[in-house]
Symmetry: C2
């Protein structure tokens, strides 16, 4: 088992990573401060892992909330089911919420913990590779609004994150790839050495070798933790984490959420970001080939959907909430392993790179 | 105009208090950081004060949300109208919310500001005496859930509070009295000198003399700010602010919210707390008479409703969320101007004091 420490002053917490680490129930119970616990999970995860968590907590008064699975349910009405249960079972301010599931369960449970009686503790047990590398660090919680994703929420740090790589064996292959997109992102944006390691170990990761998965997850979390510690509430540097995301969000929005998985759209978005970086004169064609190659070995798309137009891309990018001023901001690569933020991309260059990606594009429905 | 500074590190903010201070538009605009502003108010306050605020903000892109008036609307559906408007008008993270109204508007606007895009700025313009002395300091925001009041919310500090005593001239007399209950509370719990001042100036306060109102509001806010600065997230000392509230909540719950105003229930609750303090041997009968006298001069009830039973009182008090352990905790008076927290009240003593108050009791419907 590996343990990282996310250093955020009095909001610091550990991330434990390993195979079958939930056997050690103390990792969980050490962070529960009264007899009251509420496990929040979804109807896909519950049959697989809820019994094991419950049997680790026989000494506690445990409430369980099983939400419907999926991003479509990440809204107020579902969140309110957590509050209903907490109040029906009279949970007080010393209760502890446990998020057992992927990013949607983590975001909603975290926001419920931030808001219930104006804040209670919570512990994350992320069950997907994407949530293990992406939601474990950063403290972002929230729900969607019909007019925008993640528009309502809070910054609220967990007391601990427990990442059991054994849980990944039950994950569909497409979701493993989607999670690897975020892992590759951490190499690309700030860790060239890790990018080389990933190039050497991608086949082992795709085969779910636990020691390699644990290493890749730990190193991704470390990179994110370093960035978040420097910029907890998203002023400047934290924007680097959006590498590939501006293009990716445009794809997700245009195709309809869920048609492409988030990680798949980010994969294509990172390839486009690399090509735009090449057009800026920052990456060589060999660098771009390396980026596309590693994404493809992770079974991720490297081109835009062939049904999209350049104008659709740019339309979605302009309403993206990361566009703060009127000028579009991009996270691009100065070099492999070194992301930068720039507003200096000529419109014609952007259009040409997008047109090329679409021309090579992949079939829209994945 | 007087200005207090609430010292909370990087969350510090000023409270400006005076008659007609909204004439000075800079007091408001100094705390707005972009062109975007969203004023949240209710349908009682809007016709009275919204035009003046709007004309102070002609240089800004102003959205307006007018909520239905009343505690009955302090729930998610109403809160969501604020989010709907913010998103429809594309407010970004640099927007500023302005809460123009009483405690309900302040609590909901503050929670909307805490949650919109994971936190934006807000400014409070409280329009009732109760909200001017009670909600201006402390950072508590939130909404009600069908199973409990204020169960969902956040701690979120405003960037500034503007208290215009002229607004009190439009307030119904009963609401002035309800606000004075909280003013008297600050004297009773921690400021004997202020209690003497209040005894001398109650008639002037009831006549809405502006300089006296401004002094009483400032001194109340100062006392609350001192307590909150020592205990921002409610560990120990902040519980002193609940003087009169445990009994008051029992009255409100039993009679149905709105039958007695919150301040009226707190008034009777403080008289009961004083009598229980006398039974504990801490206050003299002269002290108790002084407490009852000042409350009566503020046109507040000093006895429990004659329709309530002792068992009803105790039943409600046991489910009050301030009862954390199982033992009932009371905020009582060691002396006038010195509140303490105790769990050592014999059950028989409590029952006798409650029975006496009910026996002298006032008609249930006020």
């Amino acid at each position: 088992m590996q343990t990282l420490h996310v250093e955020l002053g009095d909001r610091s917490y550990p991330i434990h990573i390993g195979a079958d680490l939930l056997q050690n129930t103390k990792l969980l119970t050490a962070h529960i401060k009264s007899r009251q616990v509420c496990i929040v999970t979804n109807d896909t995860v519950a049959p697989l892992y809820l019994p094991a968590i419950q049997s680790a907590l026989t000494e506690y008064d445990v409430s369980v909330v099983i939400l419907p699975d999926g991003e479509a349910h990440k809204h107020w009405q579902t969140l309110n089911r957590i509050f209903d249960q907490l109040l029906a079972d009279r949970h007080n301010r010393n209760t502890t919420l446990v998020a057992l599931g992927g990013g949607v369960v983590g975001d909603m449970t975290g926001f419920a913990a931030a808001s219930y009686q104006r804040s209670v503790n919570f512990i994350q047990i992320p069950t997907t590779l994407l949530s293990q590398v992406d939601s474990s660090v950063g403290g972002k919680t929230g729900i969607n609004h019909p007019l925008g994703k993640n528009m309502i929420g809070a910054f609220h740090q967990p007391k601990a994150v427990l990442i059991d790589t054994l849980m990944l064996t039950s994950l569909p292959a497409r979701e493993v790839s989607a999670g690897l997109a975020e892992v590759i992102k951490y190499g690309l944006l700030g860790d060239a050495e890790f990018l080389t390691w990933l190039t050497d170990h991608m086949d082992r990761l795709m085969a779910l070798e636990h020691s390699d998965l644990a290493y890749a997850i730990a190193r991704s979390c470390e990179t994110k933790a370093r960035i978040v510690a420097a910029d907890e509430r998203e002023g400047g540097m934290r924007a680097l984490l959006n590498l590939g995301h501006t293009f990716g969000h445009a794809i997700e929005t245009q195709m309809g959420y869920g048609t492409w998985l988030h990680g798949e759209a980010v994969g294509a978005g990172m390839a486009i970001a690399a090509e735009l970086s090449q057009a800026m004169g920052w990456l060589s064609s060999r660098d771009v080939t390396q980026v596309r190659d590693i994404l493809q070995r992770a079974a991720l798309p490297v081109d835009a959907p062939d049904t999209m137009t350049v104008d659709q891309f740019i339309g979605h990018m302009q309403v993206d909430k990361k566009v703060l001023t009127g000028r579009m901001r991009f996270v691009l690569l100065r070099a492999l392993g070194q992301a930068v933020i720039t507003e200096d991309v000529p419109d014609a260059m952007l259009r040409e790179v997008l047109a090329n990606s679409i021309a090579r594009g992949v079939a829209g429905r994945r």
